[in-house]
Symmetry: D3
Subunit: 302 residues, 6 copies
């Protein structure tokens, strides 16, 4: 007779979890997931490993993950070490040539390679790219900005800050189709080939469109989007495009959450069906969001 | 602030299970698993569905599963319905032409199609084959047998009972490579193309070799292999080829377990690295055996 | 000098026959021919072999043949052996669950495998399928029927009798392109995956459309279609769609010929250019119909 | 009831001829047949058409035919028209530069294109090549010859007569694999790229080896090989390599038959299994030789 | 320290030339260039070698060159040698059957093979074709002509002179894609497969269209197109379609230049963007025209 | 008549240069060239552009170039800016963790991206890699070193300085075969995935072997190798493996030239046939070395 002991029971529940994941595998196999990664979640090494493991898992069940990263905190840190004081206007880093040099060194020489190395350790065969490689991200400089949008205010030249004109996804396809995981930093190639500093959330949103991705997942260091209902902050599990635009209008969403939501809206406008804002500080939050019905973040859908 | 409630905790542990499965996915992607399926586990519909779900799961994480089945109980049942009395010699069914007709109708027209249908329901795109299709299993009749091997005993002609001469795996490769799951019944093509009744355990063992499978998994209706240690039946989690041959010699293994162990030994001799005898009556036992270190059945290895 | 004896003369006329076939080869290479096979022609083993040889010949000259079969006579025979009495309403077999079990066993476990085996013997590498394999034939149950269409008459539930909703030809393409000859029985997969009994003539007609076949050939056990002209039954070698519809209206065609003609009309409506009703009892009648200008059966064309 | 009249009977016997050809189709599909064509058979237009039809037939049943031709008679004819007197030494044409110009013009500008045109008319998509195209036939000049091999005799420079050093079959493969029938004249490319006149029988023999052909067929204007038995010339249907070498030694074979037999022996030495010397004046003799057991020519085998 | 001597300086300027060619390589890689070759330039062997070297160079930098040739001078020469007097009407050779035989022998057996041989010598792997091979050039006979277009004049049957009905470029694609350089003579296949004599300039123009060529280059034995400006003949480097049509109207272009310009206009009408009339007597004039901004011939553009 | 003026003459000589390059194109098409780039030549922007143009030219004529770079000078410069003093032992940079961070930032975030950008500007579609990407360069730390090899001397731990264990060229093949030019920095992946500083000359030498490269070209800031003959430094255009080993033994080669020569010897030992040490300060020196017989650097051959 067969003895059902505690360990066996535990294993059976393990098997059931795998089985529950099956419909999701069926749905996602062969599709691109673009994952924006940044902020606090990227600083803690243990959390980073959890994120990378999630992406390798996605790879093995047939998803084609692409990771997009910035690296604001690391840039500020190195600038300070080199005795340079960061300045921000309207939430954007004023980027003179010397700052751009530091941005590029930190993003490509530090953050990108660190992520690639974590993938390799987990058996993931990653390849780091900047948007200048094969001119994946073609960009142009932003116009000069009025501080806080005040037409009377000071005019500031943000320097080497850019926005995307066009994305050439051919290199991403080549390496993804050959089994590699692309890791892309948010540096663009300007008209003359010079490097430009681009908002990584925007890169992720537009890349999701260019790759016709199934999902855009924005990993951040808050747990999702809240709104005020009857005097209390209430967590939102799911919201559609129209509703979230209304919330922005009403000032219910603000600060660092704005570019994240914009990234989702870019993707949705371009045909991506589902986007997710997920707390990168919770281990394996991405897997939770993708493979459980409730999820743990906020899903923004069409 | 993020509220960790019970549901979230449960979800987190779910995510961890998926993560734990990752090294197994890495190891098994693109490999064949031959699964022998039969006996009691094949009679209960709920258990059948659990087995099929496991195989579809394997398919989605990159494994190429092939299912081999017999159908002794169903054959006996239909024979009795048709007023025919089954007879067995040395554990083999005496198979006259009329019996063979029933065997083939039951295996191909009932059991095989029922399994295919369960796969389709789970999104698995299965295709049923007999060993006569494209002459996958080329066989010849067994010689006449002495009852119980007793040289003085009665000589019995087993009729249309066969053994494999050669396997042509081309059709299995064609359909597996195109995303289908092959379901093969244990009927062989004799020298003149006539159908022969072959032991399904043997078919599984030899097919695993012909496909250079990573694993052979024999689903049965006992929980694995036991041996007597200090007066008590003790369960064996893992045993090597040499040890198990000794156990057969010593009569520690007997009855219906013999062809299962022989199937494993055929596979191991032919280069398959790991074989498993697993209890098909435990839901998702196959997944437990594959994706947990302890497993729940008996692994027979080289 | 060269001595022309009788044997040489005979051989020369042989060569001429091959040469005459050349324009047909040119026209048909790489095209699908769907062949419906059934009735009396399928009972006599010698005639069966002649049919199979014809199909293997087609394969070798570059045609992609697909054989569709039912098996009414064999089903009735086994039912009677099992003490079950067949019942027909409006020419359709009333198919309760037990009858369906017998239908499936006979078609897949007996008729289909017998045909496959004959192909293998002729070097044809055939593969048997039911419409449940990879859900080639998706079907639904027929509505209840009034006997003889009489609105006042008894209402009969035909049970597991179905009609085709959709055909997925992917598996047929996969095996045909890899050099195999598919042999498909007329069993469909219902909404819940259950088996349904479908009219094999209809299966052939619709499959010809789904495969964009060059020809549909219906092998039957009469020599073709006749009509009454000046008090005499006169054989029709060729008839177009419009004419044959008129003949049905006028009651000139009736009985078992109706579904055969319907099968041809389905195919013609769906774009198949030529369909043939040919006497399967004449050895190599299919070859005669295809490779000679006169043919021996009735061609129904657009 | 079915009326069997005379025409039907004739058609049935036609069908049987096709059926009889089936085992040959099975054996030859996908294989190269190299056919040497020349002499009287190439002068009569009706006979030429019969040869071409045979080759197109082979193409349609899956064989890859390659035709090799010379054109001695046509060369002589044009030379005479241009007031030039041909001279032969040891059976080889003494080929000065002006003669070579005529040889090349006649072979490539007349014979080759005429054959290509006949193929096109039969639906065969032929492509004409000389051995200079893509340097298929790399050759070198023959040494000076003693007349009749007599060491005391006159020494003759044969001029632009060559022998094959190496064959590059890549172009033949390219066009054959894309559905074209190559027609190759027996002109080689000398060390400096100059044209050389090569024996077409030798070209055919060596090409059969380079293509690993299944068969070499030499069409000629006699009906095969005879030997003297009991005072009578007796036709030989089949002979092996050893026997035919003996016959050459004994002087039983002579004249124009020598290079034909040499061609066969070259092919057999290089691994071609069967070679045939067939009378090109009998319509469809090639088909007769290939598709009937007796054949009508002489088969020289290993 | 590094000593810059004269040789080094010369080498440096060599390197610079290669560098200057780079933008042209970028623009032309993978594109077809159709080159019409004929006249005086084809008679001098040294000039021929220069042309061939240019084409091999184009091949190595990624262009797909196709050479089209006629051979009027060689035909006239051989006709005279054979005692036949050439006759021309409206610039077209009156081509009776005997003349056509000579045309075909000279073009395919002499000119075409000579060009192929020169390519091989330069490492170019060329393959000679006539328009009859695989029926590349399907043509029909020209109508009877009035001499000088005079409606009262004598009516002349030009015999085997043809014009193109349709081009099948499949064979050109097959050999080009496999690394060969096609060399096509201006002989077409008539309705019954008979050879027809076609103007080689027209063949080149229409072939450029059928291949969607990047460029048509007409090599001739004048240095390009001139017009009269202020009493002086002035060379034209570049001219558009409209201008050149006007020049033809005004009689500024005449004689042998007419078919060359027509060839360019055919190509331009069919979508070819640039066409060039270049002096084949200047060594490497084709390379000069393609790789330098000024060029040395006349470019006719859309 | 054609007027040959000065410009035409100049153009003709241009064409001749292209023609002269043809045999080299023939020889090198489809082959890998590994180019080591560094030192002074990499600092001057104009020289860098010349180098990049040369590599793009190679790409267009069918070569597969791969560029390997270090960046010692840039590293030292940034270190000094950050107030860190470089230290060298036995010519190797002592690389503590902080230094390694700077090395990686400078190489990947500055030098590599600058090179990639120059390629893009020239139409070259480059992709930057570190040896950590997809673990192209697997490395291990060097053992501790005795200063100057003196066994009595101080023992120094060089820190994160590594040597290559294994090269995985799969990613290089993937991107090269898809039309990209790989640019690889000399950073390796240590056993635990950590970055290691590797000598770029050694990387180039070993990569040439792993890619079975046709050539290794080491661009440096001297004009090649000299030796003392009769009291004078004499330039060496060509030297074989054995001779150069002797020169190292004799102390004729020293300093920074040692690792360059070692790189060549590694490549030659591994089967690369020709290696070149070329002055990167001379514009287009690489093209000169490759496409002219004399060359301008030192060729080290087997």
């Amino acid at each position: 007779m067969y003895k059902i002991n505690r360990e066996v029971l535990r294993n059976i529940s393990k098997a059931e979890v795998l089985i529950e994941a099956l419909p999701y595998m069926r749905a996602f196999t062969g599709k691109y997931f673009v994952v924006k990664y940044g902020g606090q979640a990227m600083v803690n090494r243990e959390l980073m490993e959890a994120v990378i493991v999630d992406l390798v898992l996605l790879k093995y069940i047939g998803v084609k993950p692409v990771l997009v990263h910035g690296g604001g905190k690391e840039v500020t840190e190195v600038m300070e070490r080199m005795g340079k004081k960061p300045r921000f206007v309207n939430g954007l880093r004023v980027t003179d040539d010397e700052t751009m040099e530091i941005v590029e060194m930190v993003l490509m020489g530090k953050v990108n390679q660190q992520i690639v190395s974590l993938f390799n350790k987990q058996g993931g065969k990653a390849v780091g790219f900047s948007g200048r490689d094969a001119e994946i991200l073609q960009a142009r400089r932003l116009d000069q900005q009025k501080i806080n949008g005040d037409p009377e205010g000071e005019t500031v030249d943000l320097g080497r800050v850019g926005e995307i004109i066009q994305i050439d996804p051919a290199l991403i396809h080549t390496v993804s189709d050959n089994g590699y995981i692309p890791v892309l930093s948010s540096i663009g190639a300007g008209i003359n080939g010079e490097s430009l500093n681009i908002n990584a959330d925007h890169v992720a949103g537009e890349l999701a469109v260019a790759l016709k991705a199934e999902k855009l997942i924005v990993l951040t260091d808050v747990d999702g989007i809240y709104h005020l209902r009857e005097g209390k902050q209430q967590f939102i599990s799911s919201v559609n495009q129209k509703e979230i635009r209304a919330m922005i209008m009403n000032g219910e969403i603000s600060g660092g959450m704005i570019p994240k939501v914009e990234s989702c809206l870019m993707a949705l406008d371009g045909g991506v069906r589902r986007t997710h804002i997920v707390d990168g500080r919770v281990p394996h939050s991405m897997i939770l969001e993708i493979f459980t019905d409730a999820g743990i973040g906020t899903m923004v859908k069409q």
